[in-house]
């Protein structure tokens, strides 16, 4: 399994989870877990996904998420889980 964190930050908008999930589905990315919260007045949604069987190049996938974010007025980042693990776990 190749775990990837998709984070969405910005203003809460209708249907944002559905838009993100459908891009995941189109690219054969399985969603493992979703959390969302309002932190410091900012809507934050974090999706833990499995990108092992990704249908396209990783960079293509993260680019399409970035574009989706730009269109929806939020910021979407796709990052390998290890960057968080290495920073916050010993």
């Amino acid at each position: 399994m190749k775990k990837t964190v998709i984070s969405v930050m910005g203003k809460d908008t209708v249907g944002i989870i559905s838009k993100v999930s459908s891009v995941c589905a189109q690219n054969n990315v399985n969603i493992i877990d979703i959390t969302q919260s309002v932190l410091q007045g900012l809507f934050v949604m974090v999706m833990l996904t499995d990108t092992e069987n990704l249908k396209c190049e990783f960079s293509e996938f993260s680019e399409s998420m970035k574009k989706l974010g730009e269109n929806a007025g939020v910021e979407i980042r796709v990052m390998h889980e290890d960057i968080f693990n290495s920073m916050h776990r010993i």
Binding site: R77, M79, F84, N85, S86, M87, H88
Partner: protein, 451 residues
Amino acid sequence: MLNLNDIMETINMIKQDNLDIRTVTMGISLLDCADSDAKAACDKIYEKITRKAGNLVKVGEQLEKEYGIPIINKRISVTPISMIAASSKADPIIYAKTLQKAADATGVNFLGGYSALVHKGFSAGDRELIESIPYALSETKNICSSVNIGSTKSGINMDAVKLLGETIVKTAEITKEDNCIGCAKLVVFCNAPEDNPFMAGAFHGVGEPDCVINVGVSGPGVVSAALKDFKGDLGEVAETIKRTAFKITRMGQLIGTEASKRLDVPFGIVDLSLAPTPAVGDSVAHILEAMGLEKCGTHGTTAALALLNDAVKKGGVMASSSVGGLSGAFIPVSEDAGMISAAREGTLKIEKLEAMTAVCSVGLDMIAVPGETPPEVISAIIADEAAIGMVNSKTTAVRIIPAIGKKSGEELNFGGLLGKAPIMDLNLKDSPKEFIERAGRIPAPLQSLKN
């Protein structure tokens, strides 16, 4: 599942506080490329560099995309060229041009190692290489040069110090149309590290493996953000810096091991340095100011910097399997928004910077001085700085830029990562000429009876 706050913390460090991997540097040994025929040696050098580092930039970009952390520079360091050029007795410039060709082919933004190690004396090829530096740096774009002129165990080679004063002035004169940029690519070291990934002083030491990946992390912005509005005594300040440095270094360790795996090259070290950029919010001076100094350069600056430097090392050392390079806080004046402003206002002077170099990594870095500065004054500045390194068993370096045709109070504007250098005042009234002309060698210091 990961904690939401942790995820947000990491993202904010990257987004707001300019956290990045400053450089992934591949060290390549060229010892097996030496040849009595210079042309054959150059062919071997080009072949080896492009073979080993052909994928370096591509892998760096891949990692950037996958992990979502910017990797600013992909670079190469090579065996000091004086050692390779010595066997051919040809003009060393052709080696510089070959390196430039290899840098272009691999797409790296700097290639370091047009270097010589002369801390005890000159061997075959060393003097020729040093004399060729001004031309090598003006005729190439991405090649960096360094010379080690002293060490704790061997003392300071004052013949080399004298020669380098002249070399630096000549380099500035030849590149005066371009802001004297040649001098920004030339570092004079005492106790040069063999595994430093940072330019302009990177070279691949002779004790290193054939090929190795070294990583330099950055993140002054993250440290100053952690200290902003932080109330607590200096012990607590040090703790906060340690914790932050730990996190920053873990990034470097992760990217370094991953890059080494993908390039199939052993992982060398993480250089735990706080490397500033001219961007607002990425300044080492601002960390010192966040500790409570009204302006970097005022009384107390040396103490604050000593605390910062030590805490960065303590925090970083546990986060990485192997630490090396320069490891500490950098204080390049032109590359740090806070230092630029302190130098412009006259708070930060060269004497204070010299004191600061006694407690942090590197030394007098990216400092512009008046164009009329004679070579012996540059040599004397190098000697002072080398003496600090030699006596304190630490690396010190000088990267100084005589601003040809300009006076103190004016500025050199390099743009990009090199930033802007306000020209600093020097004592040009009392000459050290006789001292420098004596040349010879300053003996190595005693290592006991330390006071």
